[in-house]
Amino acid sequence: MPEPGRDLARRRDALWAGLALPGIAWLAVFFLLPFYVIVAVALGTVDPILQTPAPAWNPLDWDWSAFQFVLEGLFTGERAFGQVFVRTIVYVTISVALSLAIAYPVAYYVARHGGRWKGLLLLGLVAPFFISYLMRMLAWINLLQDDGWVNDVLLWVGILDAPRNWLDGRASSVILGMVYGYVPFMILPLYAFLDRIDRSLLEAARDLGASRFQAFRMVTVPLSVPAILTGIAIIALPMFGDYYTPDLLSQSPRTSLIGNQINLYILGGQQIPVGAALVVVLMLMLSVLLAYYVSATTRAGRRLRE
């Protein structure tokens, strides 16, 4: 290779690095560094009189008592933390399953049968992005009031005899809220994948004598496994940090999630290390899920290529 070419390549690389540098620096300071701060706070101590956290920056000073407390709460005695973790996992699992049951058919229909309405349908799918999550919860609070429209409709249809108190702290209202809030974020990636499936594959399957349903089952579903996994990851991970949905739709201790406990300890002031330790435990749990997701999508991708 002639010398000027290599020089150009090096100059280009410098340009690319220079362009990326500000962003990388930003993420290093405001994304990576904060994680270390969480760890340092979780493993730090508390000033005895002011009770503010004294982070342990030096690993030699690490104090594991907050973690010990969290672990005890997870596995021993009343298992308060353990029960909240289990409840969170159950809620997230149900919500994700329901979301998938709603999202897949809708995404499939818009992608495959949208026809000339496709643009409009797509706009409808994108619309919730522009409506804040909290506003969508507010809409449901309005509807679920004792004299709200949900009760009105159910009474009118005759399903209920008397208005029901939907906001009395029942799990179903919280799960409904979570599904309602997160399902749009699952539909879009599914749509993007389904829209891209090569139609000739389906036609080939049909030519080989498969019924439409068989074609769907044997071609479309396997092809969309990575998309389904992506959709699950996109909504499940934020759901694990949710605390506002139960706060808004329930207010009962019965439906409180990990996020509520974190919130209590972090904003409560006196035991911030416990809150930080809870965050670390949550992150560890989620990174296991994330690792599974990454390996599962890679595997699915490899299988498809074969």
Binding site: E78, A80, Q251, P253, S256, Y265, Q270
Partner: protein, 414 residues
């Protein structure tokens, strides 16, 4: 349609809900440490825990003297730092006109937030409204300056004797009282089958299964457990005995299966709007609840129980001058202005709902004035309540941890 002026403001409640859980989340550790005179050298032993039977006279420091007597008020602008929505704007306007100064009101909605700002040293507010559970720490951190009573004649003139020289600040060296309230049980007379008044143990009403899904406790890590203690005859609202705290926790937890208890600090709307039938309630909320009743519903549907013998949960807020004040004399004048019988009364009746501890305020007068309806007379705080009642006060670090963990465990729904 009439509306209470506080209608759109929630700050005070948010604060009450949060702060009792959070005792000392000072944002800027280093600065307050500097204020303490070097490092966390100040030990827990320096923090006196004031109790009715253990009155505390706070130390005065040579480097933090009170303002000299006989000075003219400064030219302002006077900077006030208060809970969001806890002071009638008209009072501020009137004061500004009378003294010919500008007055700036800044607000906060959590104690953590206010303490962080003040201790950072970046602000120079004059008047501040401190909170019982932080008082000792603020004095130790030299964030407040001692008061000069020469500028505060209204303290002796109007305020209850019991609060002129309170146990938590003997000689009112750093603080004067602003408002007082009780924590009782609010209920909807038109919905509940039985009222607390009819029960031999009124706190049992929380377990009345007929109010399932309609029973609320205050979302407050001190207030809610305190009612559980009182139910069991434990009147030490600042107990640090693990068995007491455990008992309170077990009582709280039993409320979830019994009535599916809910937690909120919006007592002042939950009850009148019918979301709650039984609600642990602040007396100030009971008084302002009438503004939130739906049209066509009269205040007679509201009820408020507080033990007639006064042995119940009470609370109080204070006023103080910050050490950073640029207008200390003017700040004293403003505090004295709020302690004036008329101004204090107006601030309460026209806006606040939380009453000043004035000798001249008694239930009969408030009912006669139409501020409080006859059926809510028990929401008016009497001086006797303050002698007999029990406040949530500053706890030791260990005590706070016990309280918070019990509260967190209850809130986990375990």
């Amino acid at each position: 349609m009439a509306f209470h002026p506080r209608e759109a403001r929630f700050g005070r409640r948010e604060f009450l809900g949060r702060s009792a859980v959070g005792i000392a989340g000072l944002s800027s550790l280093s600065t307050i440490l500097a204020a303490c005179g070097g490092g966390s050298g100040s030990s827990v032993a320096d923090l006196a825990l004031a109790r009715p039977d253990n009155p505390v006279t706070w130390l005065l420091y040579d480097d933090n003297p009170p303002v000299a007597a006989g000075l003219e008020p400064e030219q302002g602008p006077l900077k006030i730092y208060n809970w969001n929505g806890y002071l009638w704007p008209r009072i501020i306007k009137d004061f500004a006109k009378e003294y010919g100064v500008k007055v700036e009101l800044s607000t906060f909605s959590t104690t953590d937030e206010s303490m962080a700002k003040i201790s950072s040293g970046a602000v120079d507010y004059d008047v501040f409204f401190p909170y019982q559970e932080r008082l000792g720490r603020m004095v130790l951190g030299k964030l407040l300056q001692p008061l000069n009573h020469e500028y505060l004649p209204n303290l002796a003139k109007n305020v209850w004797p019991a609060l002129r020289d309170p146990f938590y600040d003997k000689g009112s060296q750093y603080t004067v009282p602003y408002t007082v309230y009780t924590t009782g049980i609010g209920y909807r007379a038109d919905k509940v089958q039985t009222t607390p008044w009819k029960l031999s143990n009124p706190y049992e009403i929380y377990w009345d299964e007929r109010n399932r899904g309609k029973t609320y406790l205050l979302d407050d890590g001190r207030e809610a457990p305190i009612h559980m203690l009182l139910k069991n005859g434990i009147t030490d609202t600042n107990t640090e005995k693990p068995e007491d705290i455990d008992l309170a926790k077990q009582e709280l937890k039993s409320l979830t299966p019994a009535v599916n208890v809910k937690l909120s600090t919006d007592d002042y709307t939950n009850l009148p709007e019918g979301r709650a039938w039984v609600h642990q309630m602040w007396s100030g909320s009971a008084i302002s609840a009438k503004w939130y009743l739906p049209e066509g519903t009269g205040p007679e549907v509201l009820g408020y129980w507080f033990p007639p013998d006064g042995v119940g949960a009470i609370g109080s807020d204070m006023m103080a001058v910050l050490r950073s004040a640029k207008n200390p004399v003017l700040a004293h004048h403003f505090i004295n202005y709020l302690l004036d019988a008329k101004h204090g009364y107006d601030n309460f009746a026209e806006f606040n709902g939380y009453q000043p501890p004035f000798v001249a305020l008694d239930p009969e007068r408030l009912v006669a004035d139409g501020i409080v309806s006859e059926n809510l007379k028990s929401a008016v705080v009497r001086e006797q309540d303050f002698v007999n009642g029990n406040q949530p006060l500053e706890l030791s670090p260990e005590g706070q941890t016990l309280w918070q963990n019990a509260w967190a465990e209850f809130k986990a729904g375990a």
